[in-house]
């Protein structure tokens, strides 16, 4: 951060957030803060087995317990006729519809398929009473054979989870050109092979998921308040798939949401269960889990392996890529389970001139929790594989990590660049970003820093990664409404849960319409107020929401110009608009936009032909999408006596098109980098061979704390995109994509040798120490 941020400012300026005051004073309204009259609490009895047939569930003792109102089972749920949770993320163009659908009842009656699956729900007057009564529900389970990992699921003769999914494969699809790729490999001077593995991650937003359901018997409406990223998606899935009612009979809203990172993207069983229980009991029902219950019931992220080979010519130019990318989908398909696999396959096109590619993408079932998008969703998986491939190739070809990238990055002059897979990159100066990052990180001055570390007995290494990602998924709708007092409200289809959209949209209206901050309000997260919205995920909101908002504002100016012309008794062509004021050219006659808006609601002096009021809807559909990209450089120090790795420096140069608020953008960069640091060094959800999840608390699942993070220095090297009206690309996931390969390469560089077996994320101190000891033994043996 350089200049001190302003408290109010224009598009493009660093501005502190309008959201913050309520949050720093404890006035946020998160899901567990919601208390309704007569509200019951729901606690869930969950399976302690990974795969079992449900033989019986005896609820009699629990029903007798203090405060208990109802105890419901999967048999009850099946009898209710409520539909399954569907998967809607398998792209037809790639899968050709060939993928295995999985039953996904919110409360299963016959079979549990992962530890933590719900078996019964208890409804009681207090949360403690509900939790206590869970202990009294007697469950008989009959164990079935367990496949607890992707490796186990694809092994020969593995137990099969679904009869129509041989080999536990949900799908196996292909991208690219097999023949062309084969021809490229035939020309190769070098072929480098590689296998990489992504750990399974827990999003672990600080606020856990939670839901409050109400059934309004008077109107026959279902009202869900939930901690979500995407209220409109939740409503559509509930209405279409689960309840099979028109969407107007379902309201979904959210208050403050305490982080999500992909976790809270779509519909969950507990959302369904609170509504179901509310309808059955006639009372509002709340479910908020403990952290350990969240660990067991939250969808998880990553859990991916890639293997393949890359062909190079004698000078180190890439000729082709052949790869198989496999994702552990978990035990059933959640609504968004397909997102990461297909994005990871697609983004293997990468930032380099890759003339030919052939990629196979597979999804695998196992007795683990369903996977879903995790910040970056597929781009980190692809980037890790490509960047580790380039590092390995550089070593084998005798090039530096810098030189091999210089030789292969797509030149700016080659834009727009059609990749060997699905995308056409619209713009970007990849080599410019790259060189700027090397300068920012003082790449060439590394030797001096390494020498200082060595004096302190520490091994220092540097690592680099370049990524390109895709942003602006789906479409968006934003409206600007002036009220009869002349103030503006933005109704946003996006849904902020920490990103600061209210500030960003306020900056936009302030800049584009000349309104004061105090005259602008932003509303999001309520399907009764906002007819359609896409929610917030995948760095989409400022791009698609901001573009739609720009169009809404443009229409406001057109409409208000006509109204102003009437009020000022001038030809509309004579009216100009600047800084919130309409003026008649060549005169001193002027009106503010607020005055025009107020007049638009009056009868006197406002002809009916101009309509009543002042509002506009802007929409934007990303066709084509845009491609944020960047280069991040990490430096680590290793203590060779303990194996501990410290990230000591981190430099990032990104191309986000246009920065709307550099302060908030930097917040996204640093925050996403912290999650990337976690993935590289600390985080992994662990299941044992029986499918028992061993990481179910913050004492067992390590995440970065303040002292694990270095100061991060960053700069921008922007090429505004012409694919949308405001030039913005996405910028909220850069660190989760770029940090892991840069950090792991830095560790290898610090060690000075390439460990066998290869380092696997998370690269813990124990792993590093084993590698050091193994290397020492090898050295001694070869003496």
């Amino acid at each position: 951060m350089t200049a001190a941020p302003k408290h109010q400012g224009r598009f493009g300026e660093s501005v502190t957030r309008v959201e913050d005051r309520r949050l720093v004073t404890g006035q946020g309204r998160f899901i567990d803060d919601l208390v309704l009259a007569g509200m019951l609490h729901m606690a869930i009895v969950r399976s302690d087995r990974a795969h079992a047939r449900i033989v019986s569930v005896d609820v009699r003792a629990a029903l007798e317990a203090d405060g208990v109102v109802a105890v419901l089972t999967g048999v009850d749920f099946a009898a209710s006729g409520w539909g399954d949770i569907p998967c809607e993320s398998m792209p037809p163009a790639i899968t050709k519809g060939k993928w295995v659908r999985t039953p996904f009842p919110s409360l299963p009656a016959d079979r549990v398929m992962a530890m933590g699956d719900p078996v019964a729900v208890v409804l009681a007057e207090t949360r403690k009473q509900a939790q206590d009564a869970c202990e009294l529900v007697e469950i008989e389970l009959e164990d079935l054979a367990v496949v607890a990992s992707m490796e186990a699921a694809i092994a020969d003769n593995a137990p099969q989870l679904y009869p129509d999914a041989p080999g536990n494969l949900c799908f196996s699809a292909e991208l690219g050109d097999a023949l062309k790729t084969e021809a490229a490999f035939a020309q190769a001077a070098h072929v480098i092979t590689l296998q990489t593995r992504q750990p399974r991650l827990a999003h672990a937003s600080m606020e856990m998921r939670g839901s409050v359901g109400v059934f309004d018997r008077r109107l026959g409406r279902y009202e869900l308040t939930t901690s979500t990223q995407n209220p409109h998606s939740v409503r559509r899935l509930l209405a279409e798939a689960v309840l099979k009612v028109p969407a107007h009979r379902v309201r979904v809203s959210a208050g403050d949401v305490g982080g999500a990172f992909g976790l809270k993207g779509r519909l969950y069983p507990e959302d369904v269960l609170v509504l179901w229980a509310a309808e059955r009991t006639g009372r509002p029902v709340k479910w908020v889990p403990s952290r350990s219950e969240a660990f067991l019931s939250d969808f998880q992220g990553r859990d991916h392996m890639a293997s393949g080979e890359m062909a190079f010519d004698a000078e180190g130019h890439i000729l082709g890529l052949r790869a198989t990318t496999r994702h552990n989908l978990g035990c059933r398909l959640g609504p968004a389970t397909g997102v990461s696999p297909f994005l990871s396959a697609r983004m293997l096109a990468g930032p380099y001139v890759l003339p030919a590619a052939h990629v196979r993408v597979q999804g695998v079932f196992s007795n683990t929790r369903s996977t879903t998008s995790y910040r970056g969703a597929g781009r980190p998986e692809a980037t890790y594989f490509l960047e580790r491939m380039l590092d390995k190739a550089a070593r084998q070809l005798g090039l530096t990590p810098v030189e091999i990238r210089r030789r292969n990055l797509i030149p700016a002059a080659a834009m727009p660049f059609k990749t060997a897979l699905l995308d056409t990159y619209d713009c970007g100066d990849f080599p410019g970003v790259f060189e700027k990052a090397l300068t920012l990180a003082d790449w060439d001055g590394f030797a001096a820093r390494k020498a200082v570390s060595a004096i302190n007995g520490l091994l220092r290494g540097q690592g680099i990664s370049y990524f390109v990602e895709v942003s602006a998924l789906s479409n968006e709708r934003m409206s600007v409404q002036f009220d009869p007092t002349g103030h503006a409200t933005v109704l946003a289809g996006t849904f902020a849960h920490g990103q600061g959209h209210h500030t960003l949209y306020t900056q936009m209206l302030h800049d584009w319409l000349g309104l004061r901050y105090e005259d602008i309000s932003v509303v999001d997260g309520d399907t009764d107020i906002i007819p359609y919205g896409g929610g917030t995920y995948a760095s989409r909101s400022v791009t698609v929401g901001g573009s739609a908002l720009r169009r809404a504002c443009d229409q406001i100016i057109v409409k208000a110009t006509a109204i102003a012309a009437n009020l000022l008794e001038a030809d509309p062509a004579q009216i100009s608009f600047a800084e919130g004021i309409f003026t008649v050219q060549g005169s001193n006659k002027a009106l503010s936009l607020s005055e025009v808006a107020r007049a638009a609601y009056r009868v006197l002096g406002h002809p009916g032909a101009l309509g009543v009021g002042l509002e506009a809807v802007g929409t934007y559909t990303a066709q084509p999408q845009n491609y944020p990209n960047g280069c991040h450089i990490a430096e680590v120090e290793i203590d060779p006596d303990f194996g501990t790795v410290r990230l000591v420096a981190y430099a990032a140069v990104d191309d986000v098109g246009v920065a709307v608020n550099p302060l908030l953008l930097e917040g996204q960069l640093i925050g996403s980098t912290a999650m990337g640091v976690g993935q590289a060094l600390m985080e992994r959800v662990v299941y044992d061979e029986a499918g028992q999840q061993l990481t179910a608390a913050f004492t067992e699942y390590a995440m970065p704390r303040a002292e694990d993070m270095p100061l991060i220095i960053s700069a921008l090297h922007n090429t505004p995109t012409k694919t949308n009206p405001i030039g913005v690309k996405g910028g909220a996931e850069v660190g989760t994509i770029a940090a892991p390969p840069a950090i792991v390469q830095a560790i290898e560089d610090a060690l000075g040798f390439v460990p066998e077996p290869a380092l696997t994320m998370p690269v813990t101190a124990a792993q590093v120490l084993r590698a050091i000891h193994r290397e020492k033994r090898t050295e001694e043996e070869t003496k």
């Binding site: 001190a4 720093v24 004073t25 937003s205 856990m208 908030l664 925050g671 912290a674 303040a706």
Partner: protein
């Protein structure tokens, strides 16, 4: 059991189950929902409040243990205006989703009282009891150091 204590300067009495945690008493008993629950293992610090002037994780204190004592929550930190640490969090973009923020601010106020003039490395080390998943901590570290100076009247 009947429990009496002072919360944000006001004496309150409530009947509670002996097993009630201080955080449950504050949230469910008094409706002070600014204190958040982020874990059940004393790891995350979202529930940090001041008990008898010291920062404690209110998920790990029985309400009964606070009997007769003075408790300050995020709601009681400032009057009408903002506490200097709250303002520092805004100025340094020390929060995103805001869920860890009340506990983080209560922890930072206590740390600032102990040492108004800490180095960046000290600030990072001393924040070990609080987890933030959004910010990557840089804004929080800057807010802690700057807020501590503001509290000491140095700026």
């Amino acid at each position: 059991m009947l429990l009496t204590l002072t919360v944000n300067g006001r004496e309150v009495s409530r009947n509670v189950e002996p097993r009630t945690l201080l955080v449950e008493f504050l949230r469910d008993g008094l409706g002070l929902t600014g204190t958040h629950i982020g874990c059940d293992t004393t790891q995350c610090g979202a529930c940090t409040v001041h008990l008898a002037g010291r920062a404690v994780k209110s998920c790990t204190v029985l309400a009964a243990q606070a009997g007769g004592a003075e408790v300050t929550t995020i709601e009681g930190l400032s009057g009408d205006g903002l506490h200097p640490m709250q303002q520092a969090f805004i100025d340094h973009h020390g929060l995103q989703c805001g869920f860890c923020t009340p506990g983080m601010i209560m922890a930072c106020v206590a740390l600032a009282h102990e040492d108004p003039d800490m180095t960046e490395a000290q600030a990072r080390e001393r924040l070990v009891g609080n987890i933030c998943r959004c910010t990557g901590y840089n804004g929080i570290v800057a807010a802690l150091m700057d807020g501590a100076k503001r509290m000491a009247g140095d700026v």
